[in-house]
Amino acid sequence: MISFIIGIVTVVAIYCILVLALNIRWGYCGLLDFGVAGFFLIGAYTAAILISAPSESYLFGVRHTAGYGLSWFIGLIASAVASGSLAFLIGIPTLRLRGDYLAIVTIGMAEILRYIVINEKWMTRGVQGIRDIKRPFESFFPAASLPSDIILLALTLAILALFFIIASRLFVSPFGRVLRAIREDEVVTSFLGKPVPRFKMLTFVLGGIYMGVAGALFAMYVTAIEPYQFIPTYTFLMWGCLIIGGSGNNRGAILGGALIMGLFIQATRFLPSIPGQPQLIPALRYIAVGILLIVVLRLRPRGLLPEKTIKIEEGGGVDAKR
């Protein structure tokens, strides 16, 4: 039971990192990213291929070796780099245009990446997925034991805390102020002499790095990944978490992630499924999240924990409200 709870807390914390990354992109800078699942996938597969032990497979009589058996730390860093680079590539044509284009390109990119990992079996083993991904310090603590779970939980929470602190510092820093200015009015911000495309690109890449690290942690947590774990549904769930929790507020992002992913998605594991209709209960949960998303957008568009308004004291205490 205790390892079950540890497992749920770990996976919810991983999803919270994703929501936090989405908050930096959308909540701070207004970048509409519908490719969360894609960045998550890149992180998870990079880590999985680098960390898992070398194993051979035969495809049409040709021998392929997947897995490099490297240290978990290298996997974590490589995931961040891979996902950040992907964000950079996507950002080149789209960040100059209206926000909608970024949404369309990212939504397609995530789907294409999933097709690639399904079809390029020599690298990713297709729908069978990659198994036996090593956890940190596996030589000391064997997998599927309580200490191993606790270590991964501690690592995840430490990274979540670190990312949270970075994101919070970013919010109040001059950099974050420019990001919010871009979100409110791009044209005015560029008239003030700020290089808007560069700010947007930095934000987009930072979000990519966050999501890549979350993917690596996810690969280590589940120890076996397959393409089905990265369907667009997860992108949509992360949006649900952020909008319901409160975009622009990091605490809101974490609250939304914990509420939706923790209570809503995980808790229904205890609900009985209806015989003969195995897909009914999972689908109803997603419908409920979708309805909740639209209701929050209509009735409380700033979420449960709205963005804080920052009071600026200089020049006679101007109230900077949204």
Binding site: I112, I118, Y286, L297
Partner: protein
């Protein structure tokens, strides 16, 4: 050559929904991500009426189109109209939420397995180098006829003029006495009904799964951006190019599983070098 035939079918089936999606984007000034799932829902409604209730196929198509037009207006009233003041990006998020509600409703009711309509199996006819079934020929004809009809409506009828005026400048159209609210409702009626028809066409030439709508949406947006968003002729040209290119990619075995990737690669190159699309985009995008 056989791939060219597939490409023509794909392009013709994509043409109608991409045209009306373009119309919807132009009038409402946002990308409707629920459009693909609206298509899928209408196709599933036909399945329900035709297979489960055993109605005549044509009657069930008609009923399904009426229902999807009504649903379109309901979506507009309940979701998109109240959110319009928050700007296009919030509308986009709301349409994503709607897309997942529809997708998961399909999954909950009809399950994940592919479905087929209760229509007789047909053998292909040989037409020069192409092999097509009579139903595919009928679909190509109908698709082009309706496309022409939509063009004529936008160009010559009163409601078409009102649509163009509303899309061009909402405030000015209001001042000049155009009933913009009624124009929006008509736009949603026409676009939802044609979306439904496109979905039914798609289900006729392939199988129907809850993912059909979402995947088609990606093709439609590649076509739209390639042709120029809001440009109606561009949407047609884009649909034909995307349909031909993604089907002809099947000639190379390496690219066969990557039809969407081919469509997206074309769109990506277009965004890099000519972000307004090959025929130029509408103002406001």
């Amino acid at each position: 050559m056989i791939y060219l035939g597939f490409g023509i079918i794909a392009g013709a089936v994509l043409a109608l929904p991409s045209l009306t999606l373009s119309l919807l984007c132009r009038n409402c000034k946002f990308f409707n991500l629920a459009y693909g799932d609206q298509m899928g829902l209408a196709a599933y409604l036909v399945l329900f009426l035709n297979v489960s209730l055993g109605l005549n196929f044509l009657i069930s198509v008609l009923l399904s189109l009426i229902i999807s037009a009504i649903l379109g207006v309901i979506f507009y009233w309940v979701i998109f109209k109240p959110l319009r003041r928050h700007g296009p990006l919030v509308l986009l998020i709301a349409s994503l939420g709607l897309a997942f509600i529809i997708h998961n409703s399909e999954l909950a009711i009809w399950g994940p397995n592919p479905q087929k309509y209760n229509i007789p199996f047909e053998t292909g006819l040989r037409l020069g180098p192409f092999i097509m079934t009579p139903i595919q020929l009928l679909l190509i004809g109908l698709s082009f006829a309706l496309t022409g009809g939509i063009f004529a409506m936008v160009r010559y009828t009163g409601i078409g003029r009102a649509m163009r005026a509303t899309a061009d400048n909402l405030e000015l159209a209001k001042i000049r006495g155009v009933n913009t609210e009624r124009t929006f409702i008509w736009t949603w009626v026409i676009c939802s009904a044609t979306a439904g028809l496109g979905g039914i066409f798609l289900a006729l030439i392939t199988t129907l799964t809850p993912w059909t709508g979402f995947i088609t949406l990606l093709f439609l947006f590649s076509a739209l951006i390639l042709g120029g968003v809001g440009n109606l002729v561009g949407a047609l040209v884009g649909a034909m190019i995307i349909g031909l290119a993604s089907e002809c990619a099947g000639i190379l075995p390496v690219l066969a599983p990557y039809k969407i990737a081919v469509a997206f690669a074309i769109m990506f190159v277009c965004l890099l070098f000519r972000p307004s699309g090959i025929l130029g985009k509408e103002r406001g995008f």
